[in-house]
Structure formats: C-alpha cells, structure tokens
C-alpha cells in the first residue's frame, strides 16, 4: 500500500497527548476495602446477569446501537412483566425436633429436567388411556387427561384381566396392550 499524505500529519499534531491511558481512573476502588483491590465496577457488579424465577435479563443494556441501526423500533408497548417471584410466608411446616443428620453425601443427583410441554404430553397420553379404557369398559369418567382414583382402579382391573403386571400405573406394557405410543 502506498503511503498517503494527510493534512494533519499525526495524532500528536491534533493535540493527543501520548500519556498512558491507564492513568485514567477507570478503576477507582474502595481503598483496602474487602481486602482486595477491586474496582468500583467490580464491587457493584455492574454487569451482573440477573436471574429471577427463571426469567433472565441483563442488568445493563444488551447492546448499544448506533443511530444507523435498528434494534427494534420505537413503539410504546409496555414491557412484558417479568414473572416475579413473591415468596409465600404462611402455613408452613412445623416439626417435631428431628435429629438432623447429614446424610453422607451420595453422588450429586442429576437435576430433574422439567421440559416445557412435558406436562402437556403426559396429559395427552392420559387422555388416550382414558379413551382406550372407556372403549374396553374399564372407565366411565371424563376424558380430561387427569389421573383419578377411578382411572387407577380401572387400570388395575384391566391389567389383571389381561395378565399384565398389576401396578395401577401407566407402564410400557400397558401402553403396548392399549396400542398407545409413548412419546
């Protein structure tokens, strides 16, 4: 690339002082506070990623936008209320003094994944079970996708009659017998 000439030959000529810009107090601290040399920005956690009741939002802006760009227009849509958590403070368990013993830690349990839609899928299967049991004469209740005492006893009778393991639960072999596919 060939060398170009500029009207202002250098930044120095434009008045920039070659000081170490580290001198800028971007890291003011509470001197000696907390026994660590943290800046105010570190201390106040200005870039926390806040999480509340499954709702995650960034405390500061998520991205800046120059005036040229369009990150969503200017409409006065009120922000969607975050699902806020309000802790209850009523009838709570009370106990006889149990002997608190630390159970020697077992391997850390896998967190239970609650997938959105799981409850819905379960409900759908229950509906199919209700429908099938009704067709075979083991159930006369609502097709509502809810497990009920009546449905439990219907399952038990059906499992007995068909020689399945009697559990009163929707087992894989029950589904197979009723020709319902798990999903």
């Amino acid at each position: 690339m060939k060398k170009r000439l500029f009207a202002i030959p250098s930044l120095l000529a434009a008045g920039f002082l070659p000081i170490n810009s580290q001198a800028y107090p971007a890291k003011p601290t509470f001197d000696g506070d907390l026994g660590k040399r943290k800046s105010l920005f570190d201390i106040f956690k200005l870039d926390h990623r806040y999480t509340l009741a499954g709702h995650s939002s960034h405390s500061s802006h998520s991205s800046h936008s120059s005036h040229r760009s369009s990150t969503g227009g200017y409409t006065y849509v009120p922000p969607a209320p975050a699902p806020l958590y309000s802790a209850p403070s009523t009838p709570a368990p009370s106990y006889q003094p149990p002997a608190p013993t630390y159970q020697e830690s077992a391997p850390a349990p896998a967190p239970l994944k609650v997938l959105p839609g799981n409850a819905y899928k379960f409900k759908e299967i229950v509906q199919e079970v209700e429908f099938a049991l009704m067709a075979f004469g083991y159930y006369t209740g609502e097709i509502d996708g809810e497990m009920s005492p009546e449905l439990r006893s219907g399952l038990q009778r059906m499992q007995t009659d068909y020689g399945l393991k009697v559990t009163g639960t929707i087992t894989p072999e029950t589904l197979t017998a009723l020709r319902i596919e798990a999903r």
Partner: protein, 368 residues
C-alpha cells in the same frame, strides 16, 4: 388450595428427604437409573401409591402420584406426614428456615414463635434435588438469625448446582462487616434478597416493624449489600401508616438506593397480625391509586424497576396493570365470585385464599 403436606406411611425410623419419580407413560427403554435419594412409583391404587428406593419403602396417601411426580418430600415417619419442600410443577417453592424473628411487624402474616429446629441439612439435600433452573425461596421468621448456617447452605448449593437461584426474604438487620468473607464465597448473582423498607421516615418504619433503631440498622446494612453487589428487591407493604409517605420513599430510592434491583410495592395479606390489625392498616389502593402510581412512575423514570405485588388487576388503573404481575403463590391463590367472567383472570394473581369477604376495595369486579 394446593396441599403442602401429605399423608404417608414409611418403614423409616427418622426423617429423610426423597424425590418421587412416577416414570409413568414412558417408553420401554427410557427408564433412568435412580439416585439414592429417589424413590420410584411401584404401584398406584385409588387411595394410595407405593414407592420404593434405596431409602426404603414409602406409601403416599390421598393424592395421585401424577400430582407429586418430581416433588421433593421431607418425610416425617413418626407423624406419618411429608412436607412437599419442592413441588416440581411450581415456581413458588419456599423453605421456611425458622419461625423466630427479632421484629414484630404490625401486619406480619406469620407471627414469630420461639422454638427453632435446624433443618438446613434437609434443605440442602432437597435443594440439590430441585428441578433444573429452579428458584427457591428462603423465608421465615428471620432466616439471617441463623446466618452462619444460611450462608454455608447457599454457598454449598450454589456451587453444586450452577443452574438454580435463591430468593431470600430477610429484614436485613443482621448483616455486618464480619460477614463479608462468608458472603464473598456466595455467587451473589444468583441470590435476590427481598428486604422490607416501609418508609424513609425512621419513626414510621420502626413503628411498623416494632423495633427501635431498625431503620438506621437497615440503612447501614443496605450500604453493605451495595458494596457487595448484592441484588436487592426492596419490599414496601402499602398500609395506612406509610401510604402518605410513599412518594417521599420513592424520592429516597431514586437518590440514595439506586442500586436496588427492584422496588416492590405490595398489598397486604389478611392473615396473622395482618388479620388482627386489618381495619387500621388496610389501604384501599383502588381508591387512592394516584399516590402509588406517581411513586412508581418516579422510580421508573430513574431507570429503576418498580412493580406492584399482590394487587388484583381490577383494582389497578388499566395503564398500570402491566406492572402488576400475578405474584400470589399458586398454593394460596383464590378467585372470588366477583371474578367470574373476568377477561383478565389468566393474568391476575387474584386474592389470597384467606382474603376476607368484606375485601375492603371500593372498586373491584370483573373486567370485560
């Protein structure tokens, strides 16, 4: 109302924590291996269900297994009961750490008691069994009366489970410089501290919480929390003694407490002392909303979040309803005859189950 305590029979001789797994309606090959703290459903009848796991056998009575699938129970064998410490389908799980408290708030929904049993070991086991991304409430009494145990509990659970977070209700009276070390080991990005402040006037605040000097102590500790970068949800229950001071409190939040994460203006709960003192305390915000609206507008104009908790939507002017999320926990929420046919019911938290029939709101009723 959703039951928080259920009947059980077990052959264990001391209390223990267990997570129930139904494993119903699953395909053949999807059966997971159970954790030692889990019990799997073996048999379900109309009245009872039997579970088995490493901890022994457990019979659950009077509730269908599908309602408690994934729940974490604290089983109390001698009483034949189990407390649903964590309901897997709920956003409103709370551990009650103690019933002791050093304040006696005029509207306390759960008046303090003297006795205390340390359940932290159980809570720790239960929290580790919580569903993914759960937020767990910590409540009392005053949890920080047992702050050594509390901080250790938070640190251990947050370290073991990077996906979950906590919401701790505390009166903020018991933090001090000596706690800085313990607190610095807690991932404060995942803990929200719900701290009540009722007024910018020390006299009014101290009168409400029944403790002289509480206001001054609280302000000192809020400074400490700010220096720690703690996330604070400032909670102000709206009542007659502090309603007039709300705009003044809003100004102080803007100038002196800008570091809070949220300001929650809350309606009263008619239970405990709140029921006893209802007549002298309840502030009809359906009539005097202007005061409330102006205060949250002021705070929001300063870029600080402000919300209305426990306000039935019909008592709030339409332009403020998006600031009133359904905050009444699922298990204590109820709707009234007036709610029938209301178009906002889905989005509304309704009323506390125990809200009196003579509700006190002069404007209330189904919104079409």
């Amino acid at each position: 109302m959703i039951p928080l305590r259920i009947k059980v029979e077990t052959n264990a001789d001391r209390p223990y924590v267990v997570r129930l797994r139904s494993l119903e309606a699953e395909a053949w090959d999807s059966a997971p291996t159970l954790h030692p703290s889990e019990a799997a459903l073996k048999h379900a009848g109309p009245d009872a269900a039997d579970y088995a796991g490493e901890g022994g056998r457990l019979r659950v009575l009077g509730i269908d297994p599908s309602k408690v699938d994934g729940d974490v129970l604290l089983v109390n064998p001698s009483r034949g009961t189990a407390d649903r410490l964590i309901r897997s389908s709920s956003q409103h799980n709370t551990f009650l750490v103690t019933e002791r408290c050093d304040q006696v708030c005029l509207m306390c929904s759960q008046p303090p008691k003297k006795h205390h049993f340390d359940l932290f070991p159980y809570f720790e086991t239960a929290a580790l069994l919580a569903p993914e991304h759960a937020t767990i409430g910590i409540s009392g009494g005053e949890p920080t009366l047992f702050k050594t145990e509390l901080f250790r509990f938070l640190q251990r659970v947050l370290e073991a489970r990077p996906d979950i977070s906590f919401h701790v209700l505390t009166n903020g009276q018991h933090f001090d410089e000596e706690d800085l070390n313990a607190l610095s080991h807690i991932d404060l990005g995942r803990v929200v501290w719900g701290i009540p402040l009722y007024s910018s006037d020390a006299g009014v605040h101290d009168e409400i919480v029944g403790k002289e000097g509480a206001h001054a102590q609280l302000l000192r500790n809020l400074a400490l929390m700010c220096r720690l970068g703690a996330q604070i949800e400032l909670r102000t229950v709206l009542m007659r003694p502090n309603a007039d001071g709300l705009p003044g409190l809003a100004r102080v939040i803007g100038s002196t407490l800008p570091f809070i994460r949220t300001w929650a203006v809350m309606q009263m709960e008619n239970i405990g002392f709140g029921r006893m003192n209802w007549k002298s305390l309840f502030f009809d915000s359906s009539e005097g909303f202007e005061l409330v609206g102006r205060s949250i507008d002021f705070v929001r104009s300063r870029g600080i979040d402000a919300w209305l908790y426990n306000f039935p939507l019909c008592t709030v002017p339409p332009e403020y309803r998006h600031l009133a999320p359904a905050t009444i926990s699922d298990w204590k929420r109820a709707y009234r005859v007036e709610c029938e046919g209301c178009s906002l019911k889905e989005a509304c938290g309704g009323f506390f189950e125990w809200h009196p029939r003579d509700h006190g709101y002069s404007r209330l009723g189904a919104v079409q």
